[in-house]
């Protein structure tokens, strides 16, 4: 048995020796040749005479520290020999052990090369990512800018066509034409809103405002919006609610309503006869809203793409950019939920929105807003309308805030510089120095306190511009006391 092991070991040693070509060169304390073991020719070394200096052929001997054992992993010497070198010092002699390391050297070279290539690729990738980000921002800016440019004249067309359509003294045909213009302008406007909203979602600029609200209010709104027989053109609209529904939940009511309007609106758009049923239910801390229609259904091959942007399944001559469902699905995700579709051709469709939400109590809508620490907070109200100043004063004092006021942009800038201010409530449509200019100027002067913009404009672009300029939040006029208090409290709690 041990015989075999010895044989195997001998063979193994011979194999290793052949591959590694071991050579031992013994030199004295002045690096002169003493003796050797192995083939000098394997390392292109000459036959040394005893006492001959080896420094020229084995240059690494020079300058070695006086240590018992020195190891040099890879050494390139004497006409491109590549070997690993181990030097052992015994008494006054040093024994240089050379082992061929060409393979290791090549491996190392390859590693270095791949590492350099990876670095280069990484740099390229970074450059490309940056270019893509810039391109994406440019695209979003372009879309936002163009949407605004389109929106303004379309609003005008809408306004004038509406005036014409309401003018009883005009011929019935003219009124009919004006209504057609109005309808189409309205459609264009909704398309632009969708494109803009999609761009905002892509740029992650959309703000989600989670707050407690009464589910009943949302359901009533939906009922009012879609319950009119005149609008539903012969379709039956059913609204079902489960008894397990909580009274109050925490979510973004506006965005939730937006998703439902979109999905229910689509159900009406594509259903020609029968019904649209919306059911509200509550399961395992989830709000489940099902929108069921008796429309033509969606073929299975179109279902997987239905929530992708610009994807449209055209079951007839219905128009649209293919953004509504994509926006709805993205909004659902932002609200910690998901939107799903089940549909069978010829048998209608069911869109299900599932939304994780915390339950609140009816009192929470008011109690959640803790006003006990507000006294220490100072709010600067910048508003040029005296009537509104008085109203805001009452609201803010009621909620415990102390207030100071400015009626124009310049005076607001001065107050921000000289006074201790915790929050600015800023009218965006100030005379002379506009709200946007005030915000930009404050932010460029490193003013850190939060700013809430207020405007009567319903234009989403105005909101985007205000937020881009440096506003932290945006309130629509007329100002409602609850939304005012919620916005101020939310922002101040985030700013500590």
């Amino acid at each position: 048995m041990s015989e075999h092991i010895e044989k195997i070991a001998e063979n193994l040693y011979a194999l290793t020796a052949r591959k590694m070509k071991p050579l031992i060169v013994a030199v004295d304390d002045e690096n002169n040749f003493v003796s050797h073991y192995g083939e000098l020719g394997d390392y292109k070394l000459p036959q040394f005479d005893k006492g001959q200096s080896c420094v020229e052929e084995l240059p690494f001997l020079v300058g070695l520290e006086d240590e018992a054992y020195v190891t040099l992993p890879i050494v390139n010497f004497n006409d491109d020999n590549v070997s690993s070198v181990n030097i052992i010092k015994i008494n006054s002699n040093r024994y240089v052990i050379l082992l061929e390391a060409v393979d290791e050297y090549q491996r190392e070279q390859q590693l270095t090369q791949s590492s350099n290539e990876t670095k280069l690729l990484y740099q390229k990738l970074q450059q490309l990512t940056q270019q893509l980000e810039i391109a994406n921002q440019t695209k979003s800016r372009f879309i936002s800018g163009m949407s605004h440019e389109f929106r303004t004249p379309i609003s005008s067309i809408l306004g004038y066509s509406n005036l014409l359509a309401c003018n009883d003294s005009l011929d019935a045909n003219v009124i009919q034409h004006a209504r057609a213009i109005e309808r189409n302008a309205q459609y264009l406007l909704s398309l632009i809103d969708n494109v803009l909203e999609h761009a905002q979602l892509e740029a992650e600029k959309l703000i989600i405002n989670i707050a407690p609200f009464l589910l009943h209010d949302l359901i009533v709104n939906i009922g009012l919006m879609f319950g009119s027989d005149e609008k539903n053109a012969g379709l039956t609209f059913n609204l079902e609610t489960s008894e397990s529904l909580p009274e109050v939940i925490y979510s973004d009511q506006i965005r939730l309503q937006q998703i439902l309007i979109n999905v229910i609106g689509n159900a009406f758009k594509y259903t020609e006869k029968g019904s649209v049923t919306v059911s509200f239910d509550w399961h395992d801390e989830e709000l489940v809203v099902k929108v069921t229609d008796s429309g033509p259904g969606i073929p299975i091959e179109h279902q997987k793409n239905i929530f992708q942007a610009y994807s449209r399944y055209n079951s007839g001559s219905k128009k649209g950019a293919g953004l509504g469902l994509s926006i709805s699905a993205q909004l659902a995700e932002k609200l910690q939920g998901k939107l799903e579709l089940k549909s069978q051709l010829g048998k209608g469709s069911v869109f299900t929105l599932m939304l994780k939400a915390k339950v609140g109590s009816a009192d929470s809508i008011i109690k959640e807003i803790d006003i006990s620490n507000n006294q220490a907070k100072r709010v600067l109200v910048v508003e040029d309308d005296e009537d509104l100043i008085e109203l805001l004063k009452i609201y803010l004092h009621e909620y415990g805030y102390s207030t100071i006021f400015a009626t124009n942009g310049n005076s607001a800038l001065q107050q921000c510089e000289n006074e201790a201010i915790d929050l600015v409530l800023l009218d965006m449509q100030l005379p002379k120095l506009s709200g946007i200019e005030v915000v930009k100027s404050l932010r460029s002067s490193k003013f850190k306190a939060p700013i809430i913009g207020m405007t009567a404009s319903s234009n989403i672009d105005d909101k985007v511009k205000a937020l881009e300029a440096g506003c932290d939040e945006f309130l629509s006029k007329p100002i409602q006391p609850t939304s005012l208090l919620t916005a101020i409290n939310n922002i101040l709690s985030h700013h500590g």
Partner: protein, 112 residues
């Protein structure tokens, strides 16, 4: 809406009464603007002044929950803004604006 204290509700009511009491003054301001507008063929500054006044009335009326005045002022404001944007001829613009303007004046002059 968040529940306001009785004191705040009284203050709001008082403020609303004061606001309603200021309607004659608002009518005067509107009429002054309108006269200036009527006396000119094309008057960008006058349109702007009227739009600003209408904007304020719309905002404050809305905040006091006086919805009919809010809507009438907002609709007149929109016409002014459309005129600014579209460069509508004054005579046409005035015809468009007149009915909205008159409706607003009527509401402001109606007994509270």
């Amino acid at each position: 809406m968040a529940k306001l204290s009785v004191e705040a509700q009284h203050k709001l009511l008082h403020l609303k009464q004061e606001y309603i009491a200021s309607f004659p003054e608002k009518v005067n301001q509107l009429q002054a603007c309108w006269q200036k507008l009527e006396s000119k063929k094309f008057a960008v500054n006058e349109i702007n002044a009227l739009a600003t006044l209408l904007h304020k009335i719309a905002g404050s009326a809305g905040s006091h929950e006086i919805h009919d005045i809010h809507s009438a002022a907002r609709s007149a404001e929109q016409i002014c803004k459309s005129a600014e944007l579209m460069g509508v001829e004054m005579c046409r613009f005035k015809t468009d604006l007149k009915s909205s303007y008159e409706r607003l004046i009527e509401l402001l002059q109606a007994p509270a």
